[in-house]
């Protein structure tokens, strides 16, 4: 969960925030496309190296952050490519596929390079900037507004969810037998859900006091 805040924090503090969003999206997307279209070697290695270099160099993203956010997806990709190494049917039923290892490694390389290229975008670009960019590209206002409200509520709810879980831990939820723990987890989810609803209706009333009727206009962010 700390990862949500970690990527977002990096994006807010990114020295690249002052550059046009379109440029960053284009750069990252070009790298992703390169990762998809070029052969694993040397293409993906170049993309991965380039993305990492840009993140750790000019974008000044901490290496520990890059490690924290890349390890889970890369682990998932690594597991996901295992089936590529083997083939089924025939005798024996399960066997190493011819070139299977190379194929799996190739897809792994595409995945890792693509993930790093995506990470370059998300560690340098906040959700807010992306939403403002979408708005300028003509995405309808209500959709962008829902996404913006969702972004705000995520952080409000996150602290609630974390606090509820901590409070359960403090009262020794881990010592309960599994069926009880499931029930307590349901209570945590249910409590969070009720508070989500409560938060939403309170924000609705709070915004009405500020004059909210249909739209939520705000100034665009100033790019200094």
């Amino acid at each position: 969960m700390a990862r949500v805040a970690a990527v977002d924090d990096a994006a807010w503090e990114s020295p690249w925030r002052q550059r046009p969003v379109g440029t960053r999206v284009f750069l990252s997307f070009a790298l992703v496309l390169a990762a998809l279209l070029m052969p694993a070697w040397p293409g993906c290695a170049l993309v991965a190296g380039g993305s990492l270099g840009l993140m750790l160099g000019p974008a000044r993203i901490r290496a520990s952050l890059v490690a924290v956010v890349t390890v889970p997806p890369i682990a998932f990709i690594a597991v996901g490519v295992l089936p590529l190494a083997v083939q089924v049917g025939g005798t024996p039923f399960l066997s190493l596929a011819p070139d299977g290892g190379a194929r799996a490694l190739g897809v792994l390389a595409h995945g890792v390079a693509g993930t790093l290229a995506l990470l370059l975008l998300v560690t340098t670009t906040t959700m807010v900037d992306l939403l403002a960019w979408c708005r300028r590209l003509g995405v309808p206002a209500p959709l962008v507004e829902i996404a913006a409200l969702m972004y705000r509520l995520v952080f409000v709810l996150l602290s609630t969810a974390v606090a509820v879980q901590r409070a359960q831990q403090a009262r020794l939820v881990a010592d309960a037998p599994l069926p009880q723990r499931m029930r307590f987890a349901a209570a945590a989810v249910g409590t969070t859900l009720l508070r989500t609803w409560d938060r939403a209706s309170r924000l609705q009333r709070g915004l009405e006091l500020r004059g909210y009727e249909e739209d939520l206009p705000t100034l665009p962010r100033v790019v200094a």
Binding site: P83, G89, A113, G114, L143, M150, A188, V189, T196
Partner: protein, 207 residues
Amino acid sequence: MHIAEGMLPPLHCAAWFAASAPFVIHGASAVIRTSRENPENKLLLAAAGAFTLVLSALKLPSVTGSSSHPTGTGLGAVLFGPPVMAFLGTLVLVFQAVLLAHGGLTTLGANAFSMAIVGPWVGYGTYRALRALRSPAWLQVGCALALANLATYAVTSAQLAIAYPDPATGFGGALAKFGALFAVTQVPLALAEGVLGVLVFGFLTRA
């Protein structure tokens, strides 16, 4: 269950985008309509999206000892209907990609198809079918959530199998391989989500 950035060949990415787009656009126009009718819906939908995202980050006790994450798309489909969920689920996927580097943008079409379209429709269909059969409410909710989760997993396995067919047995063999691999985590998770859904439902009816 998300397919990571870079894991699908470009043509597949494009095809899944094309497959998802009509549903997501239809959902988006439904969302625009309901939020024009009643501005409160904007807050509700945003809250539902935020809740789904936060829920996917909550740890659940699990049988295997590792933590597992509920997806919540089945619940959303029951509450808001599958069209709205097509948009909202996609939005959650975008947030996961942007805030967590979880999933990806080129694989968004494929992930939306499994998590925001097929999952919710299966969940909703199950819910409606069991309701028509006058089964108890807890069973409707539990099955809707569990089957939505399972359907998502099945579609993801199929998407990977189409992209990477088995050299010997083609799509069928690949589907079996991916299915078996992910079944280890996804089947208990789907069951856990179903049970959790029943318990949450119980909690909410008491509260």
